[in-house]
């Protein structure tokens, strides 16, 4: 029974993946990708990774949703495809085949035993400050990675914000969406809060909560509820708050504690929860900032030559006189 289900799941994942990349129309591709995300979440659950399944559902859904919005609002019809030449296709197919062959050779050699690291990770949970092993890895053993991941998110937000400069955000309110949003938002926020708190002992945590929060912000924005304007200092400050707090924790532990990011079991639970809370907000704000900052420009452009675009604002000095 189980193998059959697994087979079906695997098969549908494969099919939706192919559909998502092959669908010629953008909205169709985005829809297929949305389904691909849902199936992946199922698969993650099947692979005993409920944390990832939650994150995939929230993040994947959010990303795919943004893609879908994009596709629907896209002014352009799907670009007239510069049909890739046969040479390019053959090269691409050959490269793909070679890669697949190499990968299969590689994964065939994967040993079947679980990595010994898992035992060590479990063994240290009592002093990690949390009960949930994934959270222990993320916020204690490998907190450095997590800090940098937040930095990645912040940089993406900064980059997107820099791109959006000079494009005035335009909020269009649609009553239907608004009504839906008013129902959805409290649920999402509650869910996010619960995920955050639960994350210390069960699946869930800052990322899932943050992803939900981000989704909530996007929905609110699309519905015309100005919870957070994508532009402006406030949105940026929220986005950067997580990174800054994490860095403050790092510096604090280095200066006053036992070393960079070393968490004393005595106060680790509290510290981790606090950091997680801030991270969740920052992740939410960051994701919203990234995905919304330019949707404004898509919908309606600010006039060229806004103050923010000084480079273009300058008269074309090089014009031959």
């Amino acid at each position: 029974m189980m193998p059959l289900l697994d087979l079906i799941l695997a098969g549908t994942v494969l099919v939706t993946a192919v559909l998502a990349v092959l669908a010629p129309r953008r909205d169709a591709a985005a829809s297929a990708f949305l389904i691909f995300g849902v199936l992946l979440a199922l698969l993650w659950a099947r692979l005993e990774a409920p944390d990832i399944a939650l994150a995939e559902a929230a993040l994947g859904g959010g990303v795919a949703g943004a893609l879908l919005v994009d596709a629907l609002h896209s002014r352009r019809p799907p670009q007239p495809q510069a049909a890739s030449s046969w040479a390019a296709r053959i090269t691409g197919a050959a490269a793909g085949a070679a890669l697949l062959a190499a990968l299969l050779i590689g994964v065939r050699a994967v040993p079947q035993a679980r990595a010994p690291l898992a035992e060590e990770a479990y063994a240290r949970i009592p002093v990690s400050g949390v009960e949930h092993p994934v959270t222990a890895v993320l916020l204690n053993y490998r907190s450095y990675d997590t800090l940098l991941e937040i930095a990645v998110l912040a940089v993406a937000a900064l980059g997107a914000a820099a791109l959006a400069q000079g494009h005035r955000p335009v909020v269009r309110s649609r009553p239907a969406v608004r009504g839906l949003a008013l129902v959805l938002l409290p649920v999402l926020l509650l869910l996010a809060a619960w995920l955050l708190v639960a994350g210390t002992s069960q699946p869930g945590g800052a990322f899932q909560a943050g992803a939900l929060l981000g989704a909530a912000l996007v929905i609110a924005h699309l519905a015309g509820i100005g919870l957070a304007r994508p532009q402006g200092l406030a949105g940026l400050a929220w986005t950067l708050a997580g990174l800054l707090s994490f860095l403050a924790l790092a510096a604090g532990t280095a200066v006053f504690g036992a070393g960079w990011l070393v968490l004393d079991p005595a106060w680790a639970p509290g510290a981790i929860l606090a950091i997680e809370a801030i991270l969740a907000v920052s992740i939410g704000a960051g994701l919203a900032l990234i995905f919304l900052s330019n949707s404004a420009s898509l919908q309606q452009n600010g006039p060229a030559g806004e103050p923010g675009r000084a480079a273009e604002a300058e008269p074309p000095a090089g014009a031959p006189s």
Binding site: D6, A118, I290
Partner: protein
């Protein structure tokens, strides 16, 4: 709980999904669809990592380390997608198309 055969199936699936995504990314011209392909490809990589977490006899808990890595990877991929979308919009933004090539005589 883990059924034997699942990891093998999933590793092959993971490789296939990665290759599908990357190949499509190389061959498709539409920016938007290239972004989707990239996300599909990353799904393959994440799948491999998650399979690594559930190797071995079925009675033990999964390895949390790869799961944590995947969580990090997903967030990073979301950030990448966001920036890529912002850039793609900018590239396709018709309002920007007239103020280029200032140096052409």
């Amino acid at each position: 709980m883990t059924v034997s055969g699942l990891p093998e199936l999933m590793t092959v699936l993971a490789c296939a999904v990665l290759v599908i995504g990357l190949s499509a990314h190389l061959l498709v011209a539409d920016l938007f669809r290239r972004i989707i392909s990239l996300n599909v490809a990353s799904g393959g990589v994440m799948m491999l990592l998650l399979v690594l977490a559930v190797r071995g006899p079925g009675d033990q808990d999964p390895d949390p380390v790869p799961q944590a890595l995947v969580l990090t990877g997903i967030v990073i991929m979301a950030a990448v997608t966001g920036l890529a979308l912002a850039l793609a919009r900018r590239v396709e933004d018709p309002a920007d198309e007239d103020d280029r090539d200032e140096e052409t005589p």
